[in-house]
């Protein structure tokens, strides 16, 4: 039934437990969702530190009036890279790290639906990140701001003395394009995984809330990223081929010519992506906090169904508010009124979430462990950012605050006080799951209070600066402007905030070095990912669990209380459909738990060998290297290779060849299927078969 080579790979996998597979090669070829999650996480932390360093440079520059530490050009470059890095290379990959690590565990699957595509997503992220940051070594750092407004980003048809003439924005455009492909691939994978690989009995409305957040975020990415793909593609066509999509007039043959291009088109396309993007950044954080708060309040999440609908409502409305970024462009009273209204509307589902978290804590037995501190930190700090956000929905107010430090304060309260707080809390919460070791709680609490105070010192005064009229992105301010005091406070706060991350890094290093293993379920958690060993074996679940409850692991441990039953009934009524439901009403969860425990007891190395996992693959990395080279080729058109009359850029040719070679080899490589099909969709097939196939 299988070829000899196939049996050998099977044998290798059957007898090699995950823990002993280490070394660089195993990481380069891994398609294990947990390892890919860790790769995402480490990458995110590295770029969080790089982005943090850039922030420190900004704050050094602004620490005193008329400072000349950074040149004006360097300042433009640094704030552009700070924003781009933090959004695309720190927060998004950190969220994706948790998607990857947790979602298959939470839904009771052995991996994602397309493991090799998952590896490709990560390597493309790294490729895009490298392209963006290689600009530092090329000496032409992106300098058009993180939203790269045209025509600042344009090169005007041979007029080299105008606007953006270097390769700066090429690095930015190509880098973002590659990152976009990475995010799209990852999102398709997550959506299919969540819809298709749920354990028996896990209906949509029984999924852990973080899995819901992942699903909704992934759908947002799938529908939002194409807009920036088009925006960037048109920008690249403008820059490489000399069209004028975003340029209203330019010199053609020495004469100033009307070309008809419209800079506003960039703003529309960018913000049609850009506003959903801010929900892409915050919804995973909402999901993580919704996992943490119930565990540390020892109560099921209050209003689970409403939380799900709120997520969906935020995502849906998120596509209809982009013009509030453009109130000052003068689109007229009608669009302004409409988008003001939709922006106010979106505060409702967001407020619902805040109240539901408070409702979850209300009357609970709250333990203020570090994850809970950060989660509550989000609830309070995000609320501040949310309130300043609603202020911007009013166009007259927004017109006053647009492009001032008030806006900077707002989005740092939602991105740091929201996303980063939740991600750090989740790091503390899931660290025992991922490593089997517990981060130091005492240091963790110090870390939280330090972060909390420094964060507020760094960002709250920005509200005052903004209202006093200090514009964003100015490299300097005058002696007599009166902004000096608060800028010093902000700078001191920023450096204290940076130090808090050093404390976190120390805590992580100290914990990883220690030998203190922690039990599998240190927080007495609610969901099934905690029912398996920490760190989980490569196949996750020996026996795929059957799910009868939302908080399945609590139900296993403590039985289903009256509240649970009631909630379950309610959920079925509201949801209406019972996809994949396995007779939840009839079964006794306790019996199932007993069965599962029995199965676990039987588990030993022999039993491990019965789980057949997909083979590691080198080809995703090869394809990503091809994309990386092609990306560089788009930026550097020299050296060139001459074939007949054709003159081709060497890097692009190399990139395309590597990419095509990788794709062909990928499609011919058997994934894990005992009866491999040699076609371009082997990946999906192997993945679908992988969780089920038992080795014969």
């Amino acid at each position: 039934m299988a070829t000899i080579a196939q049996s050998q790979t099977q044998a290798r996998h059957a007898t090699t437990p995950a823990a002993s597979e280490s070394g660089l090669w195993s990481w380069l070829t891994t398609i294990d969702h947990k390892r890919i999650g860790i790769l995402y996480g480490v990458t995110a932390i590295v770029f969080l530190f790089i982005g943090g360093l850039e922030a420190m440079l900004i704050r050094l520059q602004l620490a005193r009036p008329e400072n000349d530490l950074l040149s004006l050009d360097a300042y433009n470059a640094i704030f552009t890279m700070h924003g781009t890095t933090m959004i695309f290379l720190a927060v998004m990959p950190a969220s994706t790290a948790f998607f990857n690590y947790l979602v298959p565990l939470q839904i009771g699957a052995r991996d994602v639906a397309f493991p090799r595509l998952n590896a490709l997503s990560y390597w493309l992220l790294l490729a895009g990140a490298l392209i963006l940051n290689l600009s530092f070594f090329a000496g032409s750092i992106p300098n058009g701001g993180w939203y790269g407004y045209a025509p600042l980003t344009e090169i005007l048809n041979g007029q080299t003395d105008q606007l953006n003439t270097g390769r700066n924005m090429e690095f930015w455009a190509v880098g973002l394009q590659v990152l976009g492909i990475s995010s799209l691939a990852a999102s398709f994978n997550m959506i299919v995984t969540i819809f298709n690989l749920r354990a028996p009995g896990m209906t949509l409305m029984r999924m852990p809330i973080f899995t819901w957040a992942t699903l909704i975020t992934s759908i947002l990415m799938v529908l939002a990223f194409p807009a920036i793909t088009v925006a960037l593609a048109l920008l690249q066509v403008d820059r490489f081929l000399g069209t004028h999509f975003y340029v209203p007039s330019t010199y053609i043959d020495g004469r100033l010519t009307l070309t008809g291009g419209d800079p506003l088109l960039w703003q529309h396309l960018f913000w049609i992506f850009g506003h959903p993007e801010v929900y892409i950044l915050i919804l995973p954080a909402f999901g993580l906090v919704s996992e943490i708060i119930p565990v540390f309040s020892r109560k099921p999440l209050f209003g689970y169904a409403v939380m799900v609908y709120a997520l969906a409502a935020i995502a849906f409305l998120g596509f209809g508010v982009w013009v509030h970024h453009m109130f000052t462009t003068g689109l007229g009273p009608t669009p302004t009124a409409i988008f003001s209204a939709t922006t106010m509307l979106i505060a409702i589902p967001t407020g619902v979430k805040i109240f539901n978290w408070v409702g979850t804590m209300w009357g609970g037995q709250i333990r203020f462990s570090t994850p809970m501190l950060f989660a509550v930190g989000l609830v309070s700090q995000f609320t501040i950012g949310g309130i300043s956000g609603v202020m911007h929905s009013s166009a007259p107010v927004d017109t006053q605050q647009n492009d001032s430090y008030f806006v900077i304060a707002h989005f740092h309260y939602v991105l740091f006080g929201g996303s980063i707080f939740a991600l750090i809390g989740a790091l503390y919460f899931y660290f025992p799951k991922i490593t089997g070791k517990m981060l130091d709680e005492r240091l963790g609490k110090i870390h939280f209070w330090w972060t909390f105070l420094a964060f507020n010192a760094a960002f709250f005064p920005m509200h005052f600066l903004g209202l006093e009229g200090m514009p964003r992105r100015y490299a300097s301010y005058a002696e007599g402007s009166g902004w000096w005091f608060w800028n010093v406070v902000v700078s001191i706060g920023s450096f204290a905030l940076a130090l808090s991350f050093v404390l976190l890094a120390y805590n992580i290093a100290k914990t990883l070095r220690s030998r203190n293993k922690v039990e599998d379920d240190p927080w007495d958690a609610a969901t099934i990912e905690w029912s398996i060993p920490s760190p989980p074996p490569v196949y996750n679940y020996k026996e795929i669990p059957t799910v009868t409850n939302r908080d399945q692991f609590w139900a296993d441990k403590y039985g289903t209380g009256h509240d649970h039953e009631e909630e379950d009934d309610l959920e079925v009524r509201i949801a209406g459909v019972k996809l994949g439901d396995v007779g939840s009403g009839d079964e006794q969860p306790e019996d199932q738990a007993a069965t599962r425990r029995q199965a676990d007891d039987l588990g030993d190395v022999e039993e491990d060998t019965h789980v057949h996992m997909p083979n590691p693959s080198f080809w995703p990395l090869v394809v990503a290297i091809g994309v990386f080279l092609l990306g560089l080729g788009l930026i550097f058109s020299h050296p060139r290779i001459e074939i007949e009359r054709l003159s081709l850029p060497v890097l692009s040719v190399l990139g395309v060849v590597t990419m095509v070679f990788g794709i062909v080899a990928w499609s011919l490589e058997p994934a894990s299927d005992p009866e491999p099909h040699h076609d371009e969709f082997n990946d999906g097939h192997g993945a679908a078969a992988a969780p089920t196939a038992a080795h014969h």
């Binding site: 799209l184 994978n189 008809g260």
Partner: protein
């Protein structure tokens, strides 16, 4: 399949689905929808947004070059010149190539049907026929582009040229990828690598192919059929709708 797999989806070692493949070759899933097919549907949704953004761009710019050319100069500035859409677009020619692409959807259906019946020979014939029809469409596009270049419409000439070439070019790239995919499938079938159980793989390719056909129907309507405003330099005003009527008897 859809209903029976709901309850037993990947229940670990308890139920053995991995080896039979007597069915259509896809593993059991929570929704009963094959994972590859679900992936393709979401990809198409995403690709739809991509075309949506490109179409929006085109719709904003489709009359702009003509509008700019109303006078010799506007506000003292010279403007980009023609050719303008009414002078250059050949509805009849493109209607024929659109017909070819539409017909390829029919051959694609036949290819999917024949693999479903396990008729590999018919599958080969229809897949290659579909790829060839796609090839003819691309050849038509190549001819059209060359003709336009000769008449002076380039990417850089005016904003109409830029939006026209980018929009139809991205669609052309999609067709090209589809042709490669179909050729890959037929090549695999010659190597004996395709049988009835690969029905889903072919069906997924079919979904993609139908999608790019549907997109072309939209593009053909918006780019070729919907009337343009005339540039001041257009001497012979020909009503776009009239040319459509003239094209209809051809079918």
């Amino acid at each position: 399949m859809a209903t029976t797999t709901l309850d037993v989806q990947h229940a670990g070692g308890a139920v053995d689905h991995g080896h039979g493949h007597g069915d259509s070759g896809h593993g059991p899933t929570s929704t009963g929808i094959d994972s590859k097919k679900l992936l393709m549907w979401w990809f198409l949704g995403s690709d739809g947004v991509l075309f949506g953004a490109l179409i929006a761009t085109f719709m904003i710019y489709r009359n702009r070059a003509q509008d700019l050319s109303v006078g010799e100069t506007v506000a003292g500035l010279v403007t980009t010149g023609g050719p303008f859409p009414n002078e250059i677009l050949d509805q009849l020619f493109t209607a024929v190539s659109a017909g070819v692409l539409l017909f390829s959807s029919f051959t694609m259906v036949l290819a999917v049907a024949s693999i479903g019946r396990g008729n590999i020979k018919a599958f080969r014939v229809w897949t290659i026929a579909t790829a060839m029809l796609g090839g003819i469409f691309l050849a038509g596009q190549y001819f059209e582009y060359t003709e336009f270049f000769h008449e002076g419409l380039s990417l850089q000439q005016n904003i109409f040229g830029a939006s026209f070439f980018v929009l139809t070019g991205v669609h052309g790239l999609h067709v090209f990828a589809g042709v490669l995919w179909l050729l890959g499938l037929s090549l695999t079938s010659f190597r004996g690598g395709i049988s009835k159980k690969d029905h889903t793989n072919v069906e997924v390719a079919g979904l993609y192919w139908h999608f790019i056909d549907i997109v072309w129907i939209v593009l053909f309507t918006l780019v070729y059929l919907l009337p343009y405003r005339d540039g001041a330099h257009d001497p012979e005003h020909v009503d776009g709708a009239m040319r459509l009527v003239q094209a209809i008897p051809f079918f």
